[in-house]
């Protein structure tokens, strides 16, 4: 659906993207993650034919974006909220894009209603809040009713209600069978909406997997608490496990919870707690990317 193959791009001294390859499967929401400056925008702009890669290739729906016939009918994109003429009204901005795509004016009113911007449509964009600009950007992307959506940080500038609204909108768009690639540096957002994630750092791929896989892989230790912690510690250590006392009579063990429970039962040790310390996507992300930004 979207394929990036060996993509590299340098701006002056900055290697923005370095040999990046990944695939976005049809009908999924894929979160495109990385810290600020990781090369997300450059990658998305390369996919959309706006940036010329130094090496590698990108295709959307099987062809380079530039070769798509009637591209706005196939692919919708939200890049930066500021890419609107400030002196033009929201409605006129959409009418310009609709005209370029050969779409009827009635479609403009439909997308305005969809993003709940009809009331502000005749105001000049200069007076819009960042959240309103994001909505206008989404309306622009949805004009051609495209099967693929590419969104660069669409949650930026949205208030909590707006973020919730965006999440619901993305889910309903995905439920209609659309493919969505959405970049973010805010992981909690993506964790709640995406099926899959592509994580990049310093322009290179770190991981490409389903959200569940990433979380499972980063599964933390098993936490076990027992009134007889000393005995349990010895039993676990005898199995070759690494055991750490984490206070309050609790132990952290690098064994699956099933094994810990079986061992305790076989030896008649009473357990008060047996849990898996699952990492949040945020923690996984920080771990994978070394915690720092490249800015």
């Amino acid at each position: 659906m979207i394929e990036v193959e060996g993509l590299s791009k340098r701006f002056g001294k900055t290697q923005a993207v370095a040999g990046l390859s990944f695939r976005v499967e049809p009908g999924t929401i894929t979160g495109f993650l990385g810290p600020n400056g990781a090369g997300k925008s450059t990658t998305l702009r390369s996919i959309l034919g706006l940036v010329h890669p130094d090496a590698g290739s990108t295709t959307v729906l099987g062809v380079p974006y530039r070769e798509l016939d009637r591209p706005l009918h196939r692919v919708g994109a939200v890049l930066e909220a500021s890419e609107v003429h400030p002196g033009r009204s929201g409605r006129n901005h959409l009418r310009v894009q609709a005209a370029a795509a050969g779409l009827p004016v009635s479609r403009v009113e439909e997308v305005l209603a969809l993003v709940e911007l009809s009331a502000a449509a005749k105001r000049r964009v200069k007076g819009y809040s960042l959240g309103m600009r994001q909505r206008l950007g989404l309306a622009t992307a949805l004009l051609g009713d495209p099967e693929v959506l590419v969104l660069d940080e669409p949650a930026n500038g949205l208030d909590p209600a707006g973020i919730r609204w965006l999440r619901d909108l993305l889910r309903s768009l995905a439920a209609e069978g659309r493919t969505i690639l959405v970049s973010s540096h805010v992981l909690s957002e993506v964790a709640q909406t995406a099926d899959r994630v592509v994580i990049i750092h310093r322009g290179a791929l770190i991981q490409q997997a389903s959200v569940a896989e990433v979380l499972a892989e980063a599964q933390g230790a098993t936490r076990v608490r027992s009134p007889d912690a000393q005995r349990l510690h010895e039993l676990l250590a005898a199995q070759g496990a690494t055991v750490t006392e984490v206070g309050d009579g609790a132990l952290a063990v690098d064994l699956a919870p099933e094994r810990v429970g079986e061992l305790a039962a076989a030896n008649g040790v009473v357990l008060h707690e047996l849990t898996v310390e699952s990492a949040t996507l945020e923690e996984v992300f920080l771990e994978l990317t070394g915690g720092g930004t490249t800015e």
Binding site: F11, S41, T42, R45, L48, G49, L50, V51, H52, Y65, R66, L68, P71, L72, V75, A77, L79, E80, S82, E83, V84, H85, P86, G87, R88, S89, N92, R95, V96, Q97, A99, A100, A101, G102, T140
Partner: protein, 248 residues
């Protein structure tokens, strides 16, 4: 292609700056026409030359067409609207063609507006002072030349905008080139004893396509050819530059 031209015309119509150009066109052509009628003697008013010069005022809208051409390109880079524009039409040469056609249409509109203003000022005045009005093929030719000159000015603007994407640099640079650089070059050419070279400078050649004649200007045919060659050279360089540019 027609969709892109419609989109470009809509862009021109939906920003406020365009109304300002119309007001400027109305004012400068009205003043120029009034000046010509007012300063002519009764005998002069009855001549074909007078009428040809009068319709020559239409050429004043060429400067506005030039600014339109520059801004129709550079506004996109200034406000970042080039991103949605190229998303809608990723083959950038089609966008450039659309802008060129839209500029031609609007430039013709500018010239027509100028003509209407000249007529609205001159005819009541000439009727009141009871001057005879003379028309012949020469006046019609001059008028056609003016319309073409205004269109060429617009296309020159598009070509400049494609080379210099920064709006302020393109506008200021063009005005400095017209009013300072070409005059300095004139002086330099005179020193080097190649005076006639000045006639081949882009804006002197473009000016000569208005058909007004004058010292140190090419005659109509060569002026037209030289102007078109300049526009084609700039447009080619600008198209290459614009196609290659990374839109970040």
């Amino acid at each position: 292609m027609s969709a892109l031209v419609r989109a470009e015309l809509l862009k021109v119509r939906t920003t406020r700056g365009r109304w300002a150009s119309l007001i400027v066109i109305v004012l400068i052509t009205a003043i120029a026409a009034a000046g010509q009628v007012g300063s002519a003697t009764d005998e002069e008013r009855g001549t074909v030359e007078f009428m040809a010069d009068l319709v020559g005022s239409v050429g004043l809208s060429g400067l506005l067409a030039l600014i339109l051409g520059i801004t129709i390109v550079t506004t996109e880079f200034r406000h970042g609207t080039v991103t949605p524009t190229f998303l809608a039409a990723p083959r950038r040469e089609l966008v450039i063609a659309g802008k060129s056609i839209a500029t031609t249409i609007v430039a013709l509109g500018f010239a027509l507006l100028s003509l209407l203003i000249v007529a609205a000022v001159a005819f009541p005045w000439l009727t009141i002072v009871d001057a005879s009005t003379e028309f012949d093929g020469e006046v019609a030719t001059r008028l056609a030349q003016q319309f073409l000159a205004v269109v060429l000015s617009g296309l020159m603007g598009v070509a400049i905008g494609l080379v210099v994407h920064n709006q302020v640099a393109a506008l200021v640079g063009t005005l400095v080139w017209i009013f300072v650089v070409e005059n300095l070059l004139w002086g330099l050419f005179a020193l080097l004893d190649i005076d006639r070279a000045v006639e081949y400078l882009p804006f002197r050649a473009l000016d000569a396509t208005g058909g007004g004649g004058g010292d140190q200007t090419l005659s109509y045919g060569p002026a037209l050819v030289v102007s078109i060659v300049w526009i084609a050279l700039l447009a080619t360089a600008g198209t290459i530059r614009t196609r290659r540019r990374d839109i970040t």
